[in-house]
């Protein structure tokens, strides 16, 4: 049987502790953390691809598909169960990714990046013109239930706990993936595709699988955001939204599965306070933060932890 290693135990423990935090933390903080962890999940999708050497400028596509699936499921189809909605979100995203992936995995680097961007902007355009889906205003997401139980006034709290749970489970699985043969082969593809082909594996189909997995992961985050904010709109697929996910991915770095969650939390916090104190130039503050990270911590925030560990060993 598979054993839970130290990192996995730590991730599950952190997820549990944060979920229990719902009992003591103020609601503004649990809301901030819900958004941060859900975004962290979307960013995991960006990071999975980065490990394999692909940079997606259009991950907002799957974030948006996740959010809209939850919205449409509740408003128009009559599915209200949170778990069913999240599974539907992931399935919808995976289905779209399976089609788009056939084309996208033929491309690399900037061509791949721009094509992903193009697809997300196409969805933005379609949603903006769809009156039945609220055009540019989007629409409200119905309150969700959980296996027949309606959280009612505790809805936000429930979504927070759900997000902590999803984040912890996803983190464990993605950690396991990164340590697995497939995870290493993906890194190998980033380093040298030709060699991987000559070892007997198709780099293209590995990247295809990676792309579909990344789509499902990001859609999970999008679905949770839809539930948490109670609203979805086409901005979710806009290119600046995708840019934000790359920003967070760079902020955290790709070396550890916890990094995107940490970076998303920092991002949400900096943004909240920056908007509060300098409402008209908060983007400038984010810009300086990213500049600082790229110059001083090119491997992201997580390298701070790596460094302390290395120093402790020395």
């Amino acid at each position: 049987m598979m054993r839970v290693d130290r990192t996995e135990a730590w991730l599950l423990g952190a997820g549990l502790a944060l979920a229990l935090g719902a009992l003591v933390l103020p609601s503004w903080l649990t809301f901030l953390l819900t958004i941060a962890f859900a975004k962290g999940l979307v960013v995991q999708g960006v990071v999975i691809q980065m490990r394999a050497g692909l940079v997606s400028f259009g991950q907002g596509l799957y974030y948006c598909i996740g959010g809209y699936t939850v919205g449409v499921g509740g408003q128009m189809v009559g599915v209200h169960d949170a778990f069913a909605l999240l599974l539907l979100s992931m399935a919808a995203a995976a289905a779209v990714a399976m089609v788009l992936g056939l084309l996208l995995t033929r491309y690399r680097e900037i061509f791949f990046a721009m094509l992903t961007l193009a697809f997300s902007m196409i969805l933005y355009g379609i949603l903006s013109k769809s009156q039945s889906l609220g055009s540019t205003d989007g629409f409200n997401v119905r309150a969700v239930t959980a296996l027949g139980w309606a959280p009612g006034a505790g809805g936000k709290m429930f979504v927070y706990v759900l997000t902590c749970g999803c984040a912890a489970v996803a983190a464990v699985l993605l950690h396991r993936l990164s340590k697995s043969s497939v995870g290493h082969v993906c890194e190998a593809i980033r380093e040298n595709e030709v060699r991987v082909e000559y070892l007997g594996v198709s780099p293209r189909w590995m990247l295809y699988a990676t792309y579909v997995l990344a789509a499902a992961t990001s859609a999970l985050g999008g679905g949770l955001i839809g539930m948490a904010t109670g609203h979805v709109d086409p901005e979710m697929a806009y290119w600046t939204t995708s840019g934000e996910f790359i920003f967070i991915a760079l902020l955290g770095g790709i070396s550890h599965v916890a990094a995107p969650f940490l970076a998303a939390t920092l991002f949400s916090t900096v943004r909240t306070y920056a908007i509060q104190f300098v409402p008209h130039s908060w983007q400038m503050i984010l810009g300086f933060v990213l500049l600082g990270i790229i110059i001083f911590l090119p491997k992201g925030l997580w390298s701070l932890f790596r460094r302390t560990k290395a120093e402790a060993r020395a």
Binding site: M2, L177, S180, S181, V182, E191, R195, V196, G200
Partner: protein, 259 residues
């Protein structure tokens, strides 16, 4: 009757626009042979290797591996059938350590497609990878990132990765190119030792005539896309046509053979 050759090329042609890089190539290689391929730059050696490994489709002709046609197969399929190759410039995963390079190769070789949830590192796999590195005498570098190891070591790791899937045939593309002169013979000694131990058939492209004549039992001399001589080293290297067109052009100009 002779046995089915492990590799057979029949009437192989390949042209790039007006240039013919392979012209009516007919080759039969028997299992267990160590065959050297010589020829000046542009003679068609690499084109031949690329066609055999599925990287480049021939314009016409047939290639059989163990009696089965491999025409139109992707390189990965041909690798899985038992034909591995090394590269002129070692093709490794630069940010991974020497051991992880081996483990990646091994995990693919072992399981068909690599596992999603089982860790790359397990005791049995690490032991096998270490044994393979030790066979080539490069075990000391196991934890070094491949970018930091000497060129000769990189070449050996490249070959070790190709061999770890237990292929029946190995194509070596200029195994000693880019390696310091004094390292060439030790490198080839250790490669040939391992190859013989595993009973692998070898086809290797090489510019250095001293290396070729020392390690192979048969030479194919290429010139302008054609095989102009095929036979034991002594016979081929003394052939006046080879002397004029291949050895003279090779740039090394060395015809001296090891006795």
């Amino acid at each position: 009757m002779t046995a089915t050759p492990i590799l057979e090329a029949r009437n192989l042609y390949r042209s790039f626009g007006a240039v013919t890089a392979a012209k009516d190539i007919n080759i039969r290689i028997q299992s267990g042979e160590v065959v050297g391929v010589i020829g000046s730059n542009g003679a068609g050696k690499t084109t031949f290797i690329n066609m055999v490994t599925g990287f480049l489709p021939p314009t016409a002709g047939e290639i059989l591996f163990n009696g089965r046609s491999i025409l139109g197969q992707a390189p990965r399929k041909i690798t899985r059938m038992g034909m591995a190759r090394s590269f002129q410039v070692a093709q490794l995963f630069p940010e991974l350590t020497v051991l992880d390079n081996m483990l990646v190769a091994l995990s693919i070789a072992e399981s068909g497609y690599p596992s999603f949830l089982r860790p790359l590192r397990n005791a049995a796999r690490i032991e096998r990878a270490e044994t393979a590195l030790a066979e080539f005498g490069v075990a000391a570098f196991r934890d070094h990132p491949v970018t930091s190891v000497p060129q000769g070591t990189r070449k050996l790791v490249d070959i070790a990765m190709a061999l770890i899937g237990n292929p029946s045939m190995l194509l070596l593309d200029e195994p000693t190119s880019g390696v310091a002169v004094e390292e060439k013979f030790p490198l080839m000694d250790s490669v040939m030792q391992v190859v013989r131990r595993h009973g692998v058939t070898v086809l290797f492209v090489e510019h250095d005539m001293e290396i070729v004549s020392r390690y192979v039992s048969r030479i194919l001399a290429f010139y302008a896309g054609e095989v102009i001589a095929d036979g034991p080293p002594a016979q081929v290297l003394d052939d006046p046509k080879v002397q004029e067109l291949v050895v003279g052009h090779g740039g090394h100009g060395r015809t001296r053979r090891a006795s």
